[in-house]
Symmetry: C2
Subunit: 202 residues, 2 copies
């Protein structure tokens, strides 16, 4: 769109900042900016503070790599969780889905991504050394690879499986109850519970 | 989605705040939050500041009602614009589209909405008294109604037309070169230029 009107600088800056959100183009960003400024100033204020607080207040849990306010997150610090099983997921959303299946009482490691060589995301970027370090703490007996059943998720699982098995760990993968090509986040909890039960050695 | 994991408070708050953006559901909000925190901390920071600055730095231009940093915006203050013609639009995006047609050198009034009785938006909510006050400044000779060619936009134009004509003003409407049922923002600039040229008395 032509920008012929001298748009006020704070508005331009806001539209540019909103465009950095995933899936938001210039038109959506403009609509969001107008909406906030015209109809939801308190929403704009709330979002501004929430972003600042999240940036300042969140870090990666030293054990599972998920988002946390503390050095160690509540899940990792929970003494009722079974420390002998470690489930490796791509994202916190996947971790949430597995929790919602009520089929798992062990601990987690969140990769915060998956291998994607074309995007320059390799084992170093995902800090695979940290995964190995976590899995070889002496307590973990089994690592369940719960990366997505996409090409990239399968590659990630395969790669991790070799690394972990060479450390003498038992490595399993969620059973293929999860429809191939789909992402965990969009699968119903029952299917996930079943896939957890049917997990097999890799 | 079930919320079984004890998600850190700042993350929850951020996801809730993102959901207030138009067109953003819980899944998109979560994806946006993860993206910002994992891959674009500087983007999160930038958005936070941009929101705060926009909320604090922007107000409505006293003349055209558009967003402005100053009491009077740059367009209204531009001595090269023709003060005898006033174009009434629904949103700043519509104003931008009309500017990009290069077919207009007069001034604007931005309604920041349209009549929508079912949503409780009537003449009072849109401050029609301000439109009338602006149009009867003694300089304006003609008011061009450039509300959208939707049912609500047409109703708004009809209502404003009666009010303005009762003040003895010449009132015109963009020619129906704009395809009926469509929104100005999504029409090409050439069509808009043509519709401006062919504008007719109401
Ligand atoms: Zn943790
Ligand atoms: Zn103005």
């Amino acid at each position: 769109m032509d920008e012929l009107l001298p748009e006020p600088e704070p508005l331009k800056t806001l539209i540019d900042a909103l465009r950095r959100l995933p899936g938001v183009g210039v038109r959506s960003a403009r609509r969001m900016a107008y909406h906030l400024l015209q109809h939801d100033l308190s929403g704009a204020d709330q979002l501004s503070r929430a972003l600042a607080n999240a940036v300042q207040g969140l870090r990666h849990c030293a054990r599972c790599n998920g988002f946390s306010e503390e050095e160690i997150c509540a899940t990792c610090a929970n003494p009722k969780r079974d420390p002998s099983v470690l489930c490796v997921v791509e994202t916190p959303a996947d971790q949430n889905m597995i929790e919602s299946s009520h089929g798992y009482r062990g601990l987690y490691y969140v990769l915060m991504g998956r291998l994607a060589p074309l995007e320059g995301i390799g084992p170093n970027e995902l800090q695979f050394d940290r995964v190995i370090g976590r899995a070889t703490d002496g307590q973990v007996q089994e690592v369940i690879l719960a990366t997505n059943f996409t090409a990239e998720g399968e590659t990630t699982a395969h790669y991790l499986s070799e690394l972990l098995q060479s450390q003498g760990l038992k490595v399993t993968r969620l059973a293929r109850g999860v429809p191939a090509g789909s992402e965990l986040e969009y699968v119903d909890a029952g299917t996930i519970a079943w896939a957890l039960m049917e997990r097999r050695s890799t």
